[in-house]
Subunit: 221 residues, 2 copies
Amino acid sequence: MPMGLSDQDLDRIDQLVASRKKIKKGDFLFHSGAPFKSIYAIRTGFFKTSVTTEDGRDQVSGFQMAGEIIGLDGIVNDHHACDAIALEDAEVCVMPFDKIEQLSLEVKSLQHHVHKMMSREIVRENSVILLLGSMKAEERLAAFLLNLVQRLHARGFSQTELVLRMTREEIGSFLGLKLETVSRAFSKFAEDGIIDVKQRNLKIMKPDALKLIVNSQDKCI
Amino acid sequence: MPMGLSDQDLDRIDQLVASRKKIKKGDFLFHSGAPFKSIYAIRTGFFKTSVTTEDGRDQVSGFQMAGEIIGLDGIVNDHHACDAIALEDAEVCVMPFDKIEQLSLEVKSLQHHVHKMMSREIVRENSVILLLGSMKAEERLAAFLLNLVQRLHARGFSQTELVLRMTREEIGSFLGLKLETVSRAFSKFAEDGIIDVKQRNLKIMKPDALKLIVNSQDKCI
DNA sequence: CGCGTCATTGATGTGCATCAAGTGGTGTGG
DNA sequence: CCACACCACTTGATGCACATCAATGACGCG
């Protein structure tokens, strides 16, 4: 939480996030419907969140990595609206939301920070909606890969190489596609020399080509 | 804004929303990219919000009616992330966001209310993502109609009759479908006696049948 | 009245889902 | 250490849902 704060304020915020929790790969950080008490800042590891309908349909609604926040959807109804599952062993900071609200009353910059976090999540979901509503399979995968690598790069990782922490099926669920379609799109990109995939190890050879694909709907005229 | 508040607090909040603005049908409440200053509470009228990519692709990301809030996506980057367009003559309360934050520091329940609004928007978008990622055309339209009528009912309107304020194309854009597909789905529902459509006037004859359609993916076994 | 916008309906095409078979990597127990 | 099972993944063949293309019809407004 990088902000302009006094040492005193920083101490108080430190207390806020004193509690940590380890999550094993495959375990739930929280279940949909569970009482909402805290939001979580990921320290290490990788998560997916997924939403479910009454009739058992479910879909991955996002992937979260270190430095990102999970659980904001729980505020409105005092219970979580999605599942959060660790895709690898992980550690999170548990941040009780009532304490955040209490402290926000006194620390203006913290309040604003909370607002920004939530707004950021709204904007992120906007872009997912755009992706799901208007892009073709290969465009979706290209956009997904670029987004992933961009977020990793912001955390000091490579701009070109990454390890996919999720299965093809999870990627497909997130992108509104079947796993076979995801696999075929990967193969197509590899065939064209745009990426290099071996299992879950992925290297982006031509980032610009990927960007072209994202913006390549038929806009003849 | 219904909350447990002292008269004094209520007065201050009244001042906050003193400013109003009328918007004509077809006009923009704000443009994507415009500086963010305020969020807006819709008093009367009907809006759509739409997101745009660099390459000109755009999609309706939501429809908003009286009593709902627009503009929360602008907080994170200090500029609006979508267009907001009136689908009929409308009036909104202009609520400068810096004043909201200022007042939230003093009125705890207002702060919590703001958090809930934002969380509600996150949850709403979650359900749109689920719809776009996993439903078929008729399921999408059924879910859309049920959601619309439910929100209208919560505002005192009929549970069964409504006037569509948007075109088939806008519905299609929101649902990730082409207008012809939307039209065909309407015709199909009418044929089956589930609804009665004449232009934009719609009557739901069998709400339960609609609900069945929403939950009708092939779950044989 | 005539024009533009919005909607309906039919015919055809295509992108992705579905079904199905096979491969390779990983982990487990003999 | 190998045999086996299992899972994730790849690849091919087929089918279907929706897009696309095209023609016509219904309003509403200047």
